[in-house]
Amino acid sequence: MFRKVDEYIKMKTSEGLEIFRAYDIRGIFGENLSVETMLNIGRAFGSYLIKKHKTKITIGGDIRASTPILLNALISGVSSTGIHCDLVEKSPLGITLFQSFINKYDASAFITASHLPPEWNGVKFYWGEGIGFSPEENDEIKDIFLKKDFINKNAFEVGQTTKVDPYNSFVTYLKSKFEFKTKYKIAIDCGNGATSLVVPKLYEDLGFEVESIFSDPDPRFPNRSSEPTEESLSKLSEFMKKGEFDFGAGFDGDGDRCVFIDNLGNFVSSDTFGILVAEYLVKTSNNNSILINMECSLGMEVYLREIGAKIKRIRVGHSFLSLEAKLENAIFGVESSGHAIYPEVFLFDDALILPLLLAKAIHFKDDTLSNMNKNIKLPIKRRFDLKCNDNTKFAKMNEIDATLRNEEGEILDIDGISLKNDNGRILVRVSNTSPKIRVTIEALNQTDFEILEQKYLPIIKEIIGE
């Protein structure tokens, strides 16, 4: 139950490296993530911002048990460098990021381990308008952290913290962007995560009729994994089978991913969701630029090209989604993991707005979601996560890259390598967040799928040495 502090300090000696990942910082509280670590992360983040002449940020966190003390440590570290903070305390990711967005602050930090188990926690950094820190920017923070190259201000230059609750301005803002003539009835599964803090009230305030399950914040996540998948949303599916709802939505732990269930209780893949929303947006506006990441289905390209969308494949990672959307002036961007952005509202991947977009798409089609879901036929797609040591995964990836380039077909190397041929597509990527190489195989029919699987999977496994 208790852990001796010396034992803990011993563990800390290796701390600092493995928790820094490409898009965020994540670790297990009490093992490689401590209050002291978060204090120094705050100092590093603040020092980085000061060097870039930034002054004001928003800090918030999810409902994990260790979030309050990590938040305290992060704020103290950041303010010791002279950065001023608005503190949202507990909120879904989007509401913290909204505070910086609407007030034109410089940046935001959010304490969360997203969909990971309860003992995990971490922090994600965003620029004020909502673009996540790039791997290079996160790397600079890591360097400052490791070198302890912190800025430490004198008494009167220490940053000041103000507690805020942006909920009301968030709702007012969303009301100005979404108007609903139909009162949809929706079911929400918060998985006891941070969206529980605002659901069902938020959707009621926005004009929906709402029933919710697992909508009490509980850091143990006792009812389901906080990652929203077809499997983890089985209770929501059952709940939906009462047939009373227009659709159901399940969130992850911090509210940056949302996955849908149709009115009959069937799972709606994020690719299908992407197609439905993209179609609505392209057909009702004069912007046809849609971003889909490398993991998204080939089927999306087919459907969306048919309706005149201009599609760009981008790298996997929410930072790229926001960044590319800004550069390309895209109307919508989607990832197959349940992240999506609608820059007309804001650039960040707040999943709270995704049910609003889906409701708009349903209204546009004037059909039930189950019919819309059924009418979209996507290729068979399966992802294989192969274990591969963090130290060797990039070298192995190079070998795989070289092997696939020798094959016949269309090569795309935006993120990892993808080979498209008459059977379908194989995509191989190094995971940015874990010691894995991810292989996605996609084909129109089972036969083609098996051809690709049987041909390439053994070769890749051999290279990795699995």
Binding site: F2, V5, F29, V35, L39, A65, I69, I75, S80, E119
Partner: protein, 459 residues
């Protein structure tokens, strides 16, 4: 090697964000959790309060994080509060401990941490950091914000204030040193006032009006405002409101010793032969008063921790310290500027006398405070030798008290005390005499004694 967590007579102090840092906050939080886990059989929360200095809230947050990471629940105030309110809440909620982050009377760029036990005693000594235990995520202590409204320090003060009918309402100038005591002072003195004038009132931790310590030399502007507004009294606290210094309508800023003697006199009038507690460096005015009104004095070591311990040990009703701290145990075990102010206003109201008139009978004693540089490890040796040197040099009738340093009292109410500083490399010499010249002369004699000893030791 980390510096030990030494809580001296006024807690831990130092430069904001250099000595009083977030890291220190985490250490204090964990060490306090360790202290209460080891010494108390209670799961009660620890209460944390903070003043309005810039990094006070941040330090409070890191202390909360330290406590929680060791499994101890925390109640933390939402907004800056004065120190008396924290002690009140600690006792009232039977908290495992109370922690106040306040720069108190220190310069604006410094800050400090005070630790209180469940019964309101100040913790003094080194907090043990051995065997600190940390818990996993599912056993972390809960951190709960206390809304100001939830406890009734305000009601408590209001009850004390409205005990009496007020005949002659006054015009009072309130000078809270830009600190969070102001609202409580205003609330308490209202029944006694026609008019409340305000100075150094804005919430500003740069302390633009004056330094926080309410010494006579820091109150020049306050005296000017008092006389030009023809107010009846000025009340000047430090920013966290445990000490208060009064200036009379004529513009005389009265030292804490004299106000303490005034309160003691009124106490002894009704309670002859009962003891009060004062620290060993208190002016001879209290001896003068005790002799005249049949009072008894119990001397204790310098600093609030010793004063409060002595109050509890001797079960006395009143104690004070020359800095402007007065404790009326009828109401509170802590020094409280608001309660002290109410007591004085009541006295003025009941007697129909102004402050000058109330103090009229007290003779003036002249104080001189000096210090001699001396590293701490040499100071003990100096003090040992001093005892015999004093005997050689001062052959007249005298009383020697070695409770805390060396105090020597002579028959004509003149006296001196020599004490090594608890926190700095100095030996302090404090003398008092009937004239300023003789007080200076006595002080010089003491300084020379110390220099001579230091020279001998060094040789």
């Amino acid at each position: 090697m980390k510096t030990p967590l030494l809580f001296a007579t006024s807690g831990i102090r130092g430069k904001s964000n250099h000595v009083i840092t977030p890291e220190l906050g985490i250490r204090v939080g964990r060490a306090v959790a360790n202290h209460v886990n080891t010494n108390l059989k209670t799961n009660a929360a620890v209460i944390i309060g903070f003043d309005n200095r810039r990094n006070s809230h941040s330090i409070a947050n890191t202390i909360a994080a330290g406590l929680s990471s060791s499994g101890r629940d925390v109640l933390i105030f939402n907004a800056p509060i004065p120190t008396p309110k924290l002690i009140f809440s600690t006792i009232k909620n039977e908290a495992a401990a109370g922690i106040m982050i306040t720069g108190s009377h220190l310069p604006a760029d410094e800050n400090g941490i005070l630790l209180f036990e469940t019964d309101g005693r100040y913790y003094k000594g080194i907090l043990n950091e051995d065997n600190i235990q940390l818990v996993n995520w599912d056993l972390l202590g809960r951190i709960t914000n206390i809304e100001n409204i939830e406890d009734n320090y305000e009601t408590f003060l209001r009850k004390i204030a409205q005990n009496n009918l007020v005949d002659n309402k006054m015009n009072i100038l309130v000078d809270p040193a830009h600190g969070p005591i102001k609202d409580y002072l205003q609330l308490a003195i209202k029944p006694y006032c026609n008019n409340i004038l305000k100075i150094n009132w804005e919430d500003d931790d740069r302390l633009p009006g004056r330094p926080s310590e309410p010494t006579s030399s820091n109150l020049t502007k306050t005296r000017l405002a008092l006389t030009s507004s023809k107010s009846d009294l000025a009340i000047s606290t430090d920013m966290d409101g445990d000490r208060v210094i009064f200036t009379s309508h004529s513009g005389a800023t009265i030292s804490g010793d004299y106000i303490g003697a005034l309160f003691a006199r009124e106490y002894w009038k009704n309670n002859p032969n009962k003891p009060i507690v004062v620290p060993i460096n208190t002016s001879a005015i209290i001896k003068f008063t005790a002799e005249k009104y049949n009072g008894k004095i119990i001397y204790c070591k310098v600093g609030p921790p010793s004063i409060i311990n002595s109050i509890l040990e001797n079960n006395v009703d009143f104690a004070f310290e020359e800095t402007g701290k007065y404790i009326f145990t009828e109401y509170a075990i802590w020094p409280d500027s608001v309660i002290s102010t109410i007591k004085l206003l009541k006295l003025m109201n009941e007697s129909g006398q102004n402050l000058d008139e109330l103090l009229h009978e007290f003779p003036t004693f002249y104080q001189v405070k000096e210090k001699v540089p001396c590293v701490r490890n040499k100071a003990d040796e100096v003090m040992k030798i001093l005892i015999t040197e004093i005997d050689k040099l001062f052959t007249e009738n005298k009383i020697v008290n070695t409770l805390d340093g060396i105090r020597v009292d002579f028959s004509n109410n003149s006296w001196f005390i020599i004490r090594p500083s608890g926190t700095e490399d100095y030996i302090r010499i404090f003398t008092e005499h009937n004239t300023l010249e003789s007080s200076k002369e006595l002080n010089n004699t003491c300084q020379k004694m110390i220099f001579d000893i230091l020279e001998k030791i060094t040789d």
